[in-house]
Symmetry: D2
Subunit: 236 residues, 4 copies
Amino acid sequence: MSKVTVIAGVGPGNGAAFARRFAQGGHALGLLARSAQMVEGLAAELQAGGAQSLGVPVDLTDAAAVADAFQHIRRKLGDADVLIQNAAGGLRAPFLDTPVEAYREGFELCVMAMVHCCRAVLPAMLARGAGTIVLSGATAAMRGSAGFSAFAVGKFGQRALAQSLAREFGPQGVHVAHVNIDGVIGTPRNVQRLADKPPEFFLQPADIAEAYWTLAEQPRSAWSQEIDLRPFGERF
Amino acid sequence: MSKVTVIAGVGPGNGAAFARRFAQGGHALGLLARSAQMVEGLAAELQAGGAQSLGVPVDLTDAAAVADAFQHIRRKLGDADVLIQNAAGGLRAPFLDTPVEAYREGFELCVMAMVHCCRAVLPAMLARGAGTIVLSGATAAMRGSAGFSAFAVGKFGQRALAQSLAREFGPQGVHVAHVNIDGVIGTPRNVQRLADKPPEFFLQPADIAEAYWTLAEQPRSAWSQEIDLRPFGERF
Amino acid sequence: MSKVTVIAGVGPGNGAAFARRFAQGGHALGLLARSAQMVEGLAAELQAGGAQSLGVPVDLTDAAAVADAFQHIRRKLGDADVLIQNAAGGLRAPFLDTPVEAYREGFELCVMAMVHCCRAVLPAMLARGAGTIVLSGATAAMRGSAGFSAFAVGKFGQRALAQSLAREFGPQGVHVAHVNIDGVIGTPRNVQRLADKPPEFFLQPADIAEAYWTLAEQPRSAWSQEIDLRPFGERF
Amino acid sequence: MSKVTVIAGVGPGNGAAFARRFAQGGHALGLLARSAQMVEGLAAELQAGGAQSLGVPVDLTDAAAVADAFQHIRRKLGDADVLIQNAAGGLRAPFLDTPVEAYREGFELCVMAMVHCCRAVLPAMLARGAGTIVLSGATAAMRGSAGFSAFAVGKFGQRALAQSLAREFGPQGVHVAHVNIDGVIGTPRNVQRLADKPPEFFLQPADIAEAYWTLAEQPRSAWSQEIDLRPFGERF
């Protein structure tokens, strides 16, 4: 029976790349995102390529809906072996122009969505004594900046969650890792928006996905809990 | 006219010590906490000692109530020169036993309360090109641990806020600092609970307060944005 | 023609594991260590397995000898595509019992040996616009501790070198990474010395080597500059 | 009898400012630097202001000379209560243009000089169960950068020493602190060299000195082990 990977937050960039990489590795894929069109389109693409997959449209900040979505995946594909968090959010604006709701939205999307997903997958992972959970961080998870207060609050909180889970569940066989994606991802939208930047300025989603696959395959005597990913061409 | 310090989150330990230290330095004190008895008792003590002070019972997570409280302080004492954040919260429990509401409560108390307070004091600070905001961190603001996920999420988020505000408002003359209080504070309750520990195990609130006073007095060519405070006797 | 990996500091634990993993990946191996018996024995083992390899006994702290050793490897195997630093040293003792020479020895072994090696391999890597350099860190590269001053000084210095090289040579196509091996490596000697520890307490050299291989194979749009490796079973 | 502060590395910027601040606080001053003119001139200035002081020209990287210098200070002024490290060095150059000796020079000046000084002052500090040692760090103590390899190696090493000493000697009553002076110090030479920068770009030595004085006066229940100092006007 195939291993099962669930991706929480699927878009046309990293999320789709994660799905393709894990499908290529023989995993069945559960795909979660708000957009039915997105998850169902990607599920169809993966199935056409021979991979079991299931798209479930869901609001990741809705605890009950998340529980239902995982229940649905469990029945169709089995328990998750790998959970990848790929949702992000948080307005970028000067502090006094940032509505208070922007902090809550960033928090719900970065932290609470992951709490809901982890509560769904951890019991089976702990029962098996195995599993991998990868959280997608960003520069804003490592340091705050002017104009990034709402975004940084969510990303810092998510890293706190990653570290706390890693320390609690590592000794029980569940690998929790935080990836600091420290640069601009080469999604079509970003490449167009930053048309003056050379290709080496961007992180390629397929290359990011390779690092996530590696984390899921790491032998447990030598797990990485925090890695960074940076495009070689950026001077920083 | 006296400088004005507002303490957001006044209890019998650090909050009271901050109030006494800044009163001793000649500041008028605005004291915020949920408990009317706490803030009014401390205000009375400070007034008996000759310091202007005003206790305002308020739920710091209620944006409108916080705005009203600062409006009240402004009318009675003037605009805040110094804002000290001293609220903390967040359940300590195994992840799967932590109710999802515990994350939101920690977030509201650690992050949103401070967002509300900063929105109240920053306009006048920016108009004057001067002011100090100090946020009270903890070990859990620096790294996550097993059983501390809800607490760490809030404290990490608070540090993200501190760093973002520091970088945005520093060049406009407002000093924002994060203090990692890295140990157990010698409140009566902690001293009793940890009766087997020697006195040097604990941080004394009056000594913590001294460090906050120093931050508020730092000349602006050499501001500290992050400091730690640790009791000398703890081996770590 | 095979890619060439040079391992600076070959012992029976990690060094040998790195050599075996890169040989398995089709690389020719240059093996450097003080002990002729060690490097020649390992070279013979690898050759018996079909891998080109060359053991060169050398004192890595001797600049001229290091230059000669790399010249020798270049003539026999070609320019290095990958350089792995695996030397460590530094007495562990109370500060006042640590002879001043212990700091210099740690510094020569951790920092200067790597400076000599990097000066030997970088010109060809820069000419090709490609190459990988991996430095082996430890907990003591991240924080100092009582009794570890000489060791920490060397390992911190080595991480400073790694970060400086990463930022200088990354944009020219050379990947420099620092690996924090954050635990006790399961060498025969350590396993015997810590006989009361369960197997999951130790990092296995072969598993560490897998992470190094991954770093050497990372696509350059998403390079890791710092990763940690920790055994799942250690509570920290 | 006066407390005694020894400053290891006295120049016209920070070193002189430290001396003036601690003299103002009633300390007797031992002043160490290579230049007899510098230390004797400053000693004369302090004596004219009423402060006991002694300038001792010494090469801080010469262990025996450092031991003699402290012996001389001990006889004239008494044992050191405070030791301030203010020496720095390390060439800034591209890696392949950095002579190997530059690493050793940086290491001797940043690390070994401090090892020699600490060995001289710690026995008496431990006997009394009190004392303060402050090390002067820089941005390069926190992260490596292109062209800063030799400088960063020394400054990282110095921070490793600071952390190791702090953890070893803190519980015995000796406060060891590392100050990250994170910006450009407003020495006459820097102000002239960077004439296009506004005054708020620079850290003022007298303001830095104030932070050191505060560290020396901190009550031991709440010691800072690491603080940063940054000029308010720099955007970073």
